[in-house]
């Protein structure tokens, strides 16, 4: 089941093109934000530390929605799933086969989107010294847990709506809705949403010192709180398990119409 999904993914072209396009878009936005060719051009590490990449996680989220939707919903319109069930595959095999394939595809892709755009920014702008490259990569790698969480959510949605486009629309609507709810001052706990969890990993605490001639210096505290990280990992995995369980329960009795 899983191999079949990978075979289908290797044959289609939309996802790789979307991946490349979004990486370039993220890089372009970051480079523009850095003020390239201006006197106060920011470096890649500065952009990362001040949270520019945390606000671009929505691109990763949208790509992952598309990837999960493609894997999980692709076989509903042509009734391939119905035939699989009729040919003797269990609901568990059908569900978890696609869920595993979706996770294995979408989560690394989301991570690589962040890492590649960060790397391209470093090549164009220079890395700088606001945060060490190792510390930055570690923070990006920590987002694998909220990414697993959100992908499991997309898997649940996929088996409910059974349409790739609807999964993407749902992801977009949720991102917009969350932005509206959060507003300028967020009281939402970081652990309440995968998006907020990601952002807590991809931004650092900062403060400003200034000089007598008005020049300001942004200083970043790049240490990662072990307690906060552990809580984020635990909540992400629990939420992921809950979404998978809900999706499986729904699919168990679904009449596949």
């Amino acid at each position: 089941m899983i191999s079949a999904q990978f075979y289908q993914l290797r044959k289609q072209r939309v996802l790789p093109i979307a991946f490349a396009g979004l990486v370039l878009l993220m890089t372009a936005i970051a480079v523009l934000a850095a003020g390239i060719d201006s006197e106060e051009q920011k470096t890649a590490s500065y952009l990362f530390a001040e949270g520019a990449f945390s606000s671009m996680t929505m691109f990763s989220f949208m790509f992952m929605a598309g990837a999960v939707g493609t894997v999980c919903c692709g076989d509903f319109p042509d009734k391939t799933i119905n035939y699989e069930l009729m040919s003797g595959s269990s609901r568990d095999q059908v569900y978890f086969g696609r869920a595993v394939a979706a996770l294995v595809t979408a989560v690394p892709a989301g991570l690589f989107m962040e890492l590649i755009s960060l790397g391209l920014c470093a090549l164009i702008l220079g890395w700088g010294d606001s945060i060490g490259p190792g510390a930055a990569v570690l923070r990006v790698l920590m987002t694998v847990f909220p990414y697993i969480r959100i992908c499991c959510f997309y898997i649940m949605v996929s088996f409910i709506v059974k349409n790739t486009g609807l999964v993407i629309i749902t992801a977009f609507a949720l991102l917009q809705g969350i932005s509206l709810l959060i507003g300028d001052s967020s009281r939402a706990p970081d652990l309440s949403l995968a998006l907020l969890c990601c952002r807590s990993f991809l931004r650092t605490e900062s403060f400003i010192t200034f000089e007598l001639d008005g020049r300001e210096r942004m200083v970043f505290d790049t240490s990662l709180s072990p307690g906060g990280a552990a809580a984020a990992v635990l909540v992400s995995l629990l939420a992921a398990a809950a979404y998978i369980f809900i999706g499986r329960t729904y699919f168990d009795k679904d009449d596949l119409r």
Binding site: D129, I178, R187, T209, E211, D213, D255
Partner: protein, 545 residues
């Protein structure tokens, strides 16, 4: 109640009613999508938590939403209806908790303190210079915040923060509550009782009553009456029992000594014993009853003492035939000047105004910096450059930043390494005229800067009842749930690498008032009885001399 919580609890009967009816309906429909409606309460709950945050009193409501969701996993009508009932009962349990528990949406003051403490400990730039005992402070103050959290005591939290900040001996370290009303209430709670007078120390070391309530007149107590003891104790000793005393920071030891005893007259029970000398020279002892709260009386007394001339910011007043006074209430001109750090427009305006005044016969200028809380150093530089005699003057040096340690670099011989130096040029706009700068203990920060850079100039005299506040570093702040904590974060140095203005462990700030005016009974009479500007009077006499 928070309106997000009201919305969630208002949905409880809707969820109950809708899902109760659907419990049977879901069985009749072949499509499984109907079951998803049992997840709606949990989704609404999550959305409201994202919008409004979570609270411990709402936990039963959150659990209730999860209980509703159990209907998604179970098929039977009776089971689903049982879950509906359980869910709505749990949600209803949150209502009395939210309405009656003092913990509802209360701030965790202990967590707030820890966050603020970690921030200031990491970034306070004078930590070594003032030899701050961080462990000692943490041990001393954590229990106070823990108690405030336990009692949901907002006033206790503000009082604890102010006591904590006063330990630094740095007026730039301070805590502002979320609203003035909260701050006022906490200070009133800390102030103690009012017995009808404020005690102040005079230049000769004796104590005098000021801002005396008329009701004490029949006891022979009025402004200027010599006070011998407060409840049997020296006022400087008695005031140490006052919370207000512990909440007040002084950056300069001379300023602290000026204000010795000022909080003593708030200490006591229903009555206090006052020893004083009446007008006939006789020593008397009277029992004074409590009249109310001490805060408004001491605040009024200090405002009377510390007010500058009551005209607008950057306004002129003609105070004699050849002298004009420029009131500078804060080091801020306009948003554009602050944003671009360029006070050229202000200089042009002042230059023009001074020119017009000089054509009208003005030779001298008094710059009134009293209670100037600071602002842009660039504005201090701009004012100084207008009035300074021609020549080049040193302002201050920026400390060198070390990226590897994320802190200021230390010099090989001790102290801090000097980075770029800032100079300015004087243009002697008064063409030889005199400048008198009026300061007081509330003249701080950029006000301290102007005092420091002009105090040694040949045409300048700095006058006041006290030295200025004695704080000169750049300030940052930490936003906490219960307020804002500010602290010195950006280092400025003298040419030799020593800290610019701020006092170290010796309590001596680096700027001073050239002429300290005597605070005697004559001054008390002028200030508190005649309600006149004693400091300005003395400044004009100085100019005439």
């Amino acid at each position: 109640m928070e309106y997000y919580d009201i919305i969630l609890l208002a949905f409880a009967p809707v969820f109950f009613g809708g899902l109760w009816v659907l419990a049977g309906a879901a069985e009749k429909y072949l499509s499984t999508r109907w079951k998803l409606i049992y997840l709606v309460p949990a989704m609404v709950c999550l959305a409201l938590i994202v919008g409004g945050g979570a609270d411990v009193c709402m936990v039963p409501a959150y659990l209730g939403c999860l209980v509703f969701a159990a209907g998604f996993f179970r098929e039977g009508r009776r089971e689903r209806r049982a879950f509906c009932l359980g869910g709505v009962l749990l949600m209803a349990a949150s209502l009395p908790l939210c309405l009656f528990s003092p913990r509802y949406r209360s701030i965790d003051y202990e967590k707030d303190f820890k966050r603020g403490f970690e921030g200031i400990k990491a970034h306070y730039v004078l930590s070594d210079y003032k030899q701050i005992d961080w462990d000692g402070l943490y041990e001393k103050y954590l229990p106070m915040f823990r108690q405030a959290a336990r009692d949901c005591d907002a006033d206790g939290n503000i009082i604890a923060w102010n006591r904590f900040c006063a330990e630094f001996g740095d007026s730039h370290v301070g805590f502002s509550a979320r609203t003035e009303k909260e701050e006022e209430r906490a200070f009133q709670k800390a102030a103690g009782n009012d017995y009808g007078l404020v005690i102040m120390k005079l230049s000769d070391g004796s104590y005098a009553a000021v801002n005396v309530d008329p009701s004490l007149g029949d006891k022979g107590i009025h402004n200027g009456t010599t006070i011998l003891s407060w409840d049997g104790r020296d006022p400087a000793e008695a005031e140490k029992d006052s919370l207000l005393y512990e909440m007040t920071a002084y950056s300069d030891i001379d300023v602290r000594q000026f204000y010795e005893g000022v909080f003593a007259a708030g200490v006591g029970g229903d009555t206090v014993k006052l020893s004083y000398v009446d007008d006939s020279g006789r020593k008397r002892e009277e029992e004074l009853p409590r009249l109310g709260n001490y805060y408004s009386r001491v605040k009024n007394a200090l405002e009377t003492l510390e007010n500058g001339m009551d005209i607008g910011h950057l306004q002129w007043a003609r105070v004699s035939s050849d002298t004009a006074l420029l009131r500078v209430k804060k080091m801020m001109f306009d948003t554009l000047s602050s944003k671009n750090d360029d006070h050229g427009a202000m200089k042009r305006q002042l230059r023009q105004e001074i020119g017009e005044l000089m054509e009208d016969g003005v030779k001298n200028v008094i710059i009134d910096l009293r209670s100037n809380g600071g602002g842009a150093g660039n504005m201090s530089e701009a004012i100084a450059s207008l009035f300074a005699p021609e020549g080049k003057y040193f302002y201050a040096a920026n400390a060198l930043w070390d990226d590897s340690t994320n802190f200021y670099a230390k010099a090989p011989g001790g102290g801090f390494a000097v980075g770029s130096e800032v100079y300015f040029s004087g243009e002697d706009v008064l063409k030889g005229g005199r400048v008198v700068i009026l300061v007081n203990a509330k003249c701080a920060s950029a006000g301290d800067h102007l005092t420091k850079i002009m105090e040694g100039m040949e045409n300048v005299t700095v006058m006041g009842l006290t030295d200025p506040a004695g704080v000169g570093q750049g300030v940052s702040s930490i936003e906490l749930e219960s307020g804002t904590l500010s602290y010195s974060s950006s280092l400025l140095l003298n040419k030799d690498g020593s800290v610019f203005i701020d006092a170290g462990t010796d309590g001596q700030a680096g700027d001073s008032t050239g002429v300290i005016l005597p605070f005697d009974r004559a001054a008390v009479k002028v200030i508190f009885d005649d309600k006149e500007d004693y400091v300005l009077k003395m400044a004009l006499e100085e100019l005439e001399d």
